[in-house]
């Protein structure tokens, strides 16, 4: 049994090293909340491992020390049982003490987490949809309110406040390297404060089962220096760039004539749908279809031509387009920087 255990531990160790390199890992914290939680995870794990080893010793060592079975099952040594009772009571007392300690520890960790967002500089409303994220930057000036999708830019080193809700089913917002998860529940509003210590791209995905494409509902937090973030916000507020090339112009016309316009919005054009992601600056994003594909001309074409092949069950319908038409639409969308 011990041999198997050590083998398991060795395997686990090897795998652990591999996994820490991940960019969606609770063990690779990049913000104060995740750091606090990673510390908590390691502390609980260490203590649990210790307790487990002690229990295993209490099981295995007496097995190896004794050589023969009790002869008569009812002949119990009352003195020995009295000593055992003391051992058992001590163990129960220690268990209770450890549990009280862990309860207090988790209570105080919770207080630390709650303090992170007390001076949040930015409020972002994140609304869950099957199977993408609507992201709205709140601002006192109505003209500065910005709506985008799936990728959340934040200033690095500053706490931000996310207001989480949903219009359809329950989703859960989770960026493991920055913070624990919180549900997006229709009819409820949850508040999640988080902070990224350094600039970087932090991946997350929906953590509450939400239907057919739960697996492909990724999101990114893109933390940038403040100046770069402000510039990004200003850029995103601009209406979409008007197409210049003929092919792209044809693509815009097709977009506005075909069913695309029913669901998507493109700022500066008549397209004003709100049930699907805002495409005003689509090409400035890193991924397509909520983290499913990387942004490229080829992937754009693939996604439009075969959404049900790439995300079976997704609400993006197939829009019949000829090869030339598809190329034109892609050329137009590709220009929406």
């Amino acid at each position: 049994m011990t041999r198997v255990a050590s083998m398991a531990l060795a395997t686990a160790g090897a795998l652990l090293l591999q996994g820490c390199a991940g960019w969606q890992s609770a063990l690779d914290p990049k913000g104060p909340a995740a750091s606090e939680l990673a510390w908590l995870i390691w502390f609980f794990t260490g203590l649990s491992a210790l307790v487990w080893v002690l229990v295993m010793i209490a099981l295995v060592v007496p097995l190896m020390m004794r050589s023969r079975a009790q002869a008569e099952p009812l002949a119990i040594d009352a003195g020995a049982d009295g000593r055992k009772l003391r051992v058992v009571m001590t163990a129960v007392g220690l268990t209770a003490l450890i549990l009280v300690g862990l309860t207090l520890l988790s209570f105080f960790a919770n207080r630390t987490l709650a303090a992170i967002g007390s001076d949040a500089s930015l409020t972002i409303r994140v609304t869950g949809h099957q199977w993408w994220w609507e992201v709205r930057y709140e601002d006192a000036t109505p003209s500065r309110i910005l709506t985008t999708a799936n990728e959340i830019h934040i200033p690095a080193g500053e706490p931000v406040r996310l207001l989480l809700t949903s219009t359809d089913v329950i989703h859960s917002f989770w960026i493991p390297s920055l913070s624990g998860k919180l549900d997006l529940i229709p009819g409820h509003m949850n508040v999640l404060d988080l902070k990224a210590d350094k600039p970087g791209v932090y991946r997350g995905q929906c953590a509450e089962f939400c239907g057919a494409q739960h697996a492909n509902m990724g999101t990114f937090i893109i933390a940038e220096p403040r100046a770069k973030f402000d510039a990004w916000w200003n850029d995103q507020l601009q209406p979409a760039a008007a197409p210049t090339a003929d092919e792209a112009k044809a693509g815009e016309e097709l977009f506005l004539k075909r069913p695309c316009v029913m669901c998507h919005r493109i700022g500066g054009t008549p397209a004003g749908g709100t049930v699907a992601p805002d495409l005003t600056h689509l090409a400035s994003r890193q991924t397509l279809a909520a983290g499913t594909l990387t942004m490229s001309r080829g992937n754009l074409a693939a996604w439009i031509a075969d959404p049900q092949g790439i995300k079976p069950g997704s609400h993006m319908p197939v829009v019949e387009l000829s090869g030339d038409e598809l190329n034109a639409v892609v050329a137009y969308l590709e220009g929406l920087k």
Binding site: V4, A69, Q70, P73, L99, N110, K181, Q205, A212, A215
Partner: protein
Amino acid sequence: MSSADLASERDLPPEREASVKGDIAPEHDGPRDTGMDDAGLHRWLTRTWRTPPGIIGALSSVDHKVIARRYLITAFVFLCLGGLNAVAMRIQLSGPQRGLIGPDLYNQLFTMHGVTMMFLFAVPIVQATGIYLVPLMVGTRNIAFPRLNAFSYWIYVSGGIFAWVSFALNMAPDVGWFAYVPLSGPEFAPGKRADVWAQMITYTEVSSLAVAVATIVTVFKQRAPGMSLDRIPLYVWAMLVTSFVVVFAMPAVMITSTFLILDRLVGTHIFNPAEGGDALLFQHLFWFFGHPEVYIIFLPATGMISAIIPVFARRPVFGHLGLVLSLIAVGFLSFGLWVHHMFATGLPKLGASFFTASSMMIAIPNGVQIFCWLATLWDGRPVIRTPLLFVFGFFFIFVIGGLTGVMLASVPLDLQVHDTYFVVAHFHYVLIGGSVFPLLGAAYFWFPKISGRMMSERLGRWHFWLAFIGFNAAFFPMHLVGLWGMPRRVYTYPAELGWGNINLFISAGAVVFFLSFVLFTFNLAHGALKGALAGDNPWDAGTLEWATSSPPPSYNFARIPIVTHGEPLWAEREALPVATGLRVDVRELLISTVAEAHPDIREKSATPSIWPLLAAIAVGGTFVYSIFTPWAVAWGAAPIAITLIGWFWPKGDPEDEE
């Protein structure tokens, strides 16, 4: 109702003598076992208690052992089906972006896996074990309400068939085993899939409630004379506490599933936030059942461990009273933890912290149990046989699951691991380690009693090591992949997250674990056909089920034993004292008092009847019909009423004479 007129062949201890009322049985009452020779007694009792021959006879059986065997085999079939679901999922997840199984099928697979394992395997199999063993362990001839017991089986099997036929028709539930609204509500789950989930819950809950009621009454009223509360075997205590938990927990989930059906079928808006309903209400109601459910599965397994360890440690269990109190404490506390499944829903932080404390607290009685079992094993070198190996496996695995459970009880920590593969690892460690390993140990332990033959010890060891290694290889790495950010219930994952290799390893482990069950099935079949004959008491155990032959006769005990010790067969090495005075020409039980188990009255036990089957068909038909129209309740009432009238039609038995 006749007053008890039992005379014991041996003098009862003085404090119990007073309760044995009446004199010698009046002659007109029918023949009794008093003074009858063994061969004659056997003939009489067999004729009275046997299951009638023929197919109708078999379908009419109310023998708790026959019903339990059917339950056990059916639950085992569902275990295999649920296991096949899991293997299919593991093949799909063995690498990133595999295209073997699409989301539509995958979502049905994991829902069916969860539903099958929880409702069609785990709960029924622990209850079935109880149906078989509890009457034998308390020394009675049949379970209380034997027809209700038969009815419960038919309802259970029809619910299981209903779910799996739905799966075959591509209309299995695909909303997860806890089917959260609004995802399972009318707007986001069109079709009948979510209704199948809700209605299957109703089937299995009706059946487990019936078994729970029968178990409680059997334990309280049918114990052999002298089996006072402190002499009840721990396994029976565990089944008693479990049955109470069932009685209080199951109604919550029946309300949940009924509300869901009302929302879907009648257009109520109980869970619809747009109309003033609340989506979170569903979660509260579900987990108020859902957390005790875990203990419904786990507590019987602790009873099995408490039965197995003393036999192989060759001494009575250490801390009997502490273990009983722990069982009761766990039963109560299990109702105060449900919110720890909902920490990520954004509940008020202080309120959530209370549930951290209560969830931590339940580790104390569970710790008491673990420590008492360990202390039992400290006396001498235990006899290491396959059942004990599985108990060792339980310690190794379950303690890990319990400790990760403590991690999940912490609100902040839970927010990182909730709904990830860490949780998947945790509950498989708890449920497989805490329940399936003890069940496998129990299978080896009680197989000789049920079949009369031993299972192979050599194959048993192979089976244990295969299961142990396969299980840990499959589930230990899930802790890690969960911490690396892999959510549960995803049908695929991108290659760039680096989860491919570890998932391949997990899948390989899952296949090994599955193979261990193939070996187990072979060992079962081999043991049943060619195993060495077991004899009455192959392990030299101390409890009453080993006092009768293997397999037990239809009437369980030729004469009702009198219990003088917590381990009666160890205390009375030559022969158990017995009570006599029961009639042999009709099915008669000895009813005893709740606390002291004084013999109190004689009571008839129900005879075989086809009506429970017909009633189950009527009820089951109504359930299926009612996912299509609410009028099914009205249409179904008539056939159900007819079958119940047939069931309870007074026969004019001289049951209540005198």
